[in-house]
Symmetry: C2
Subunit: 266 residues, 2 copies
Amino acid sequence: MSDSATGLIETEAGAEPRNGERRRGIDRVIMLLEALLRHRAPMRVGDIAKMIGAPRSTTYEIVNSLLEAEMLENVGTEGYVYFGRAMHLFGWAYSHHNAHYRRIIETLDKMAAETGETVQLCGLRGNKYIVLDCRDSSGPFRISSDVGVEVPIPWTASGRLLLGHMSEEEVKDFIPPGDYKLPDGRVIAPAEFFSDVALARQQGFSETAALADRFTWCMAAPIRDGHGAINKTLCFVLPVDTAETRRSELLALLCERARGLSLAGS
Amino acid sequence: MSDSATGLIETEAGAEPRNGERRRGIDRVIMLLEALLRHRAPMRVGDIAKMIGAPRSTTYEIVNSLLEAEMLENVGTEGYVYFGRAMHLFGWAYSHHNAHYRRIIETLDKMAAETGETVQLCGLRGNKYIVLDCRDSSGPFRISSDVGVEVPIPWTASGRLLLGHMSEEEVKDFIPPGDYKLPDGRVIAPAEFFSDVALARQQGFSETAALADRFTWCMAAPIRDGHGAINKTLCFVLPVDTAETRRSELLALLCERARGLSLAGS
DNA sequence: ACATGCTGTCTGAAATATCAGACAATAACG
DNA sequence: CGTTATTGTCTGATATTTCAGACAGCATGT
């Protein structure tokens, strides 16, 4: 953050930054919002402009429109902006419009209340894993993870389940090679990952211990849609030293609830 | 307006629908999202076009862009669209970026769990009242109200608190005259409303019984910001026939928690 | 059978939104 | 003190996007 702007420019997916190109306002808006989501903190207009590769004058124009609509709002007095109240309302409308999602959220609440552990709802976004919603542990040992942040699929237990419908070949094509490398430098052998995926499919759940970080034990169970496909998973994020007896209790609960949320294969 | 779909065209605030006018894509997007929020259900592209007063061809163009960005998504197979997953992520980012809001949400969760009643976080949007977030009662008697729907201020207990900083004159100018009329046809005398506002300010809480509808008892307590102003309120929505003893318990809890969420006047 | 209403996709043309760049203010730094 | 970066606002030109309307396809109703 200390430096000027180096490293701010994260390459835009699918967008050729060919200079002298003119872009549509709507596309700029989309890029802007996604950049803000990735950045996960209020940004200044100048930095946004760099991040989305737009001229400053254009960026000001757009930001002011979005501010007026409360889709963005000013944070602090130094010209920082972040998502605004309208986004919250739109997002709420999204997550409550369908009965299935509402049931899922209720279950999330209930499980968090009953167990006091961190519970997450997870899914895929493109070829990455994201947390769709979560309830953080109430205890002092809080492993908070951000909703919407993209994470390589092989780092996660849920990811193993979410690829269950793919053949080994498809998985190989789907996962970017770099995604097998863990944050601490270790590399997961693709073959090992493929067999994990197969195991997860067969067991109907998936667990990882100290994978993406050294402190967590993750367990995931599938939520199936009307066609039996796995779109989402329910998971617990536990301290890695959780006793085996409690872990198996929680795993049983997780599987039961996830099954309860699955739609009967019509 | 003469055409078939009468009633669909809700007049756009601050937008002159002068024909033959050209509008910016960004503005169309904003109108579209707000229209969808007001409508509270998936819509077809043709109806959206009518609602925001845009040509169909333009609307298709915009909707397709937003679909691709997952800001909208298809619902069902009949061409209906509604908010998409990206909106949920943006909204989540909004509501968790600031520590105060996070504390409020935790309190909301806790109160709902402890009491089993419907708890809401409320605020103003322009000169209307809206629910910003809520936890619905777990009981069979469920009074669900939608986050983000605009409601006339005089219909609500929270509204009386949220106007606490205004003089009688200011309140009079602020509330649209039609907003004193309740859904069942009764009309609140403005003078009575002003004194309610004064009473709420003095008491530090506000209650309404069977006001906006015949079945609910609402109680609201103020959450003050760093300057002592009331931006948001915490409230319970109870069945009207809740026993007086329980009501006063809940009111005490409400006031205590709201005070706990208020920021010390710096 | 026809008439009517809708959807979703294209087209060309005209209006304008995006752009590069200039500008004054302010801040940080040696 | 000058030098170098900022921010936020304006400007005018042109490349682009919005728009009206036509089109085929598929319903529905009479």
